[in-house]
């Protein structure tokens, strides 16, 4: 594990200080770190543990329990494809296969140029407009393979 740089350590300490007084603050702290840094670096774990008077194991345990928290830096854009039943009924598996082929990566991977991370997600609550995807926080419905290609082209050109 690489320790955080002094600058990043200061950022993490400041985030923890902001949330420290609230009841049960750990998830809030981790959300704030990920929002700021894009992921929760392993080096942040001892800093958070120290500030919140928790063990490193407790903090590591929480980071790794939740699918949403990432321990590695993601690509510039994150494409999450819904793989749950409603989307499956409208071709989510074929869409995922297309996405893998098009990007040359599997789920939980990032393209070699660092542009796009591909993730599975289990329900976006858009089940009457399946299949659904979330791209950099933006929701898409009735997504076709052609629509997917257009999204990727838009994302990487912006």
């Amino acid at each position: 594990m690489d320790p955080l740089s002094p600058a990043d350590t200061a950022v993490v300490r400041r985030i923890v200080t902001e949330h420290k007084g609230r009841p049960g603050p750990l998830l809030e702290v981790l959300h704030a770190i990920q929002a700021r840094m894009g992921f929760v670096p392993a080096g942040a774990v001892p800093v958070v543990a120290d500030e919140l008077n928790l063990s490193r194991a407790e903090v590591h345990g929480v980071v790794t329990f939740y699918h949403y928290f990432r321990s590695a830096r993601p690509g510039k854009h994150t494409v999450s494809l819904c793989q749950a039943e409603a989307c499956q009924s409208m071709g989510a598996e074929a869409l995922a296969a297309h996405a893998r082929r098009r990007l040359g990566i599997d789920f939980h991977q990032t393209t070699a140029d660092g542009e796009i991370s591909l993730e599975p997600i289990y329900c976006l609550g858009n089940c009457a407009c399946s299949p659904a995807a979330l791209v950099d926080g933006r929701l898409y419905g009735r997504l076709t393979p052609e629509g997917f290609d257009a999204l990727v082209a838009d994302s990487t050109s912006s």
């Binding site: 809030e28 039943e85 289990y122 609550g125 009457a128």
Partner: protein, 512 residues
């Protein structure tokens, strides 16, 4: 005179272009120097008509849809701001047959009000329930909820009034009201629609709960997959504080109620109430062993109400109109209405709020219009990823807790996912086990190990390895998980598998 237009800000509508339509309307209006007020409302729930644009006319709202940005100039040319005729015209919104037959109580304001405005909420009957609750003794509020027959809409269907009574009877310095907004079931979006389209109803429902049991703090535990709902809730909570409906002196009653949203982190298990409480406390979302019940020892060890979004959002209507009025809807032990979500491979999908008792057939064909692909329906899954698959021979079953339990199914949170005849039910059974393996919290062995073994056994069946023996093994494994798991995840994940084995046995064979 300035026209008033409504274009939904609902995430589902946005996902198919409502944002672009709103932008196109604003641009075209500016080009034509046509003054207009654009309200970003929730969705009416008719997703096959989204993006649906509504125009206020003296005779009520008139709808157009589904609108694409390229339709906007012709809509202006047809004078749609005055309700003019156009190929996309749907007529008065309230006369659209799909909407007209619904019985909207909990969703009465969704798609009608401006979700960001406390004053618009009040103008449409909001906060009458709280006013009524504040005039009653706490025990009387709880009694009204009990008398309404309301049962937990998250899926467990436990009588809400009884839960509240337990919390009311506890003596504690601090009690909590928590809202389970971790709507993770595939095929469900009622919570999301309500939080985005009428968040004040949820806030009011939680405030009434707090008044009823003597709680001064509340949390909404919202899933991370719902960024639009998060924004809507934060805006509405801030507005409720400004208007004096939250904080130290709720509506001038002298009672304190503080409310905040906490965001989950992509763990399906956190929809289980004790796991949700662990997560709210900042820990791994591992299930707690019950007893003690959360109503006695819940959040931070204090007496806590845990209710689903739709449950809490039904409370204001019950208080405002009376328990009896609510209980007059429904059948048997399922009283009131249920917002049903029609999802997946369906032609006219969306939200249908009706009294309990509608049959699946009416829902799938009268409302849904059959599949989107035009092929016959082969199966529907009711109640999310832990719900049973139901074959067409059982489509005359009523949507009712007991009726569905009677055929070995469950209603859950009211999601209905439709599959056409291309579905491979052995693969759907495999997915149920795979999902359980991904989402298991790991605390108990039947769920943690059983789900992984379940995937392996189904893989062997599909590969044609000793199929007869492995099907029997799968049945035994399902039984073990049902009997031996600590909570509903491992205990119910076998339901889709068992129902697939029962009704679609022919799919459990080798693939070539």
């Amino acid at each position: 005179m300035s026209a008033t237009l409504y274009v939904p800000i609902d995430a589902g509508a946005l996902s198919i272009g409502a944002g672009e339509v709103a932008a196109a309307i604003t641009a075209e209006a500016a080009r034509r120097h046509a003054p207009l007020t654009l309200v970003r409302n929730g969705s009416r729930g008719a997703y096959w008509l989204e993006p649906m644009v509504e125009v206020a006319t003296p005779e009520g709202r008139v709808a157009y849809g589904p609108v694409a940005p390229r339709d906007v100039p012709s809509l202006f040319a047809a004078d749609f701001l005055a309700g003019g005729a156009h190929p996309l015209s749907l007529g008065p919104t309230d006369s659209i047959p799909w909407l007209k037959g619904q019985q909207r109580l909990t969703f009465e304001r969704v798609g009608i009000v401006d979700p960001a405005s406390a004053s618009d909420y009040v103008k449409h009957g909001g906060y009458q329930g709280l006013e009524r609750a504040l005039a009653l003794a706490p025990g009387e509020v709880v009694q009204a909820v009990t008398a309404s027959g309301l049962r937990g809409r998250g899926g467990a269907a436990f009588p809400t009034g009884i839960k509240w009574k337990t919390v009311l009877e506890q003596t504690a310095v601090q009690k909590y009201v928590t809202c389970n907004a971790d709507e993770g079931d595939s095929g469900t979006f009622a919570d999301r629609m309500l939080m985005e389209g009428d968040p004040f109803t949820l806030i009011e429902g939680m405030t009434i709960a707090a008044v009823a049991v003597g709680a001064s703090a509340g949390f909404i535990y919202l899933r991370a997959e719902y960024p639009h709902a998060l924004a809507a809730l934060r805006t509405a909570i801030a507005a409720a504080y400004s208007a004096g409906y939250l904080g130290a002196d709720v509506a001038g009653s002298g009672k304190r109620f503080d409310l905040e949203v906490r965001v989950g982190a992509g763990a399906y298990i956190c929809g289980e109430e004790t796991s949700m409480l662990e997560s709210l406390e900042g820990r791994r979302g591992e299930v707690r062993v019950r007893p003690p019940l959360p109503a006695i020892k819940g959040l931070f060890g204090q007496p806590t109400i845990v209710n689903n979004v739709v449950t809490l959002a039904s409370i204001p209507w019950i208080l405002a109109h009376g328990a009896e009025a609510y209980a007059n809807f429904g059948m048997g032990k399922s009283r009131g209405t249920l917002p049903i979500q029609l999802a997946g491979n369906i032609r006219r999908g969306g939200l249908v709020e009706r009294a309990f008792g509608l049959t699946l057939r009416e829902l799938l064909y009268d409302y849904g219009g059959g599949t989107a692909t035009g092929k016959p329906i082969r199966a529907v899954q009711v109640g999310g990823p832990l719900g049973a698959y139901i074959p067409p021979s059982q489509f005359d079953t009523a949507v009712d807790y007991e009726a569905l339990a009677g055929i070995g199914a469950l209603l859950g949170h009211g999601g209905v996912v439709v599959f056409d005849d291309t579905v491979d039910m052995a693969r759907m059974a495999r997915y149920a086990m795979e999902f359980c393996a991904i989402e298991s919290c790991g605390k108990c062995t039947p769920c943690r190990i059983g789900s992984t073994r379940g995937v392996e056994v189904i893989d062997r069946i599909i590969a044609g390895v000793d199929a007869e023996h492995n099907v029997q093994l799968l049945e035994e494994l399902c039984e073990l998980m049902v009997q031996g798991s600590l909570c509903g995840l491992g205990g119910m994940a076998p339901f889709p598998v068992q129902s697939a084995l029962k009704h679609f046995r022919e799919d459990f064979r080798a693939r070539h």
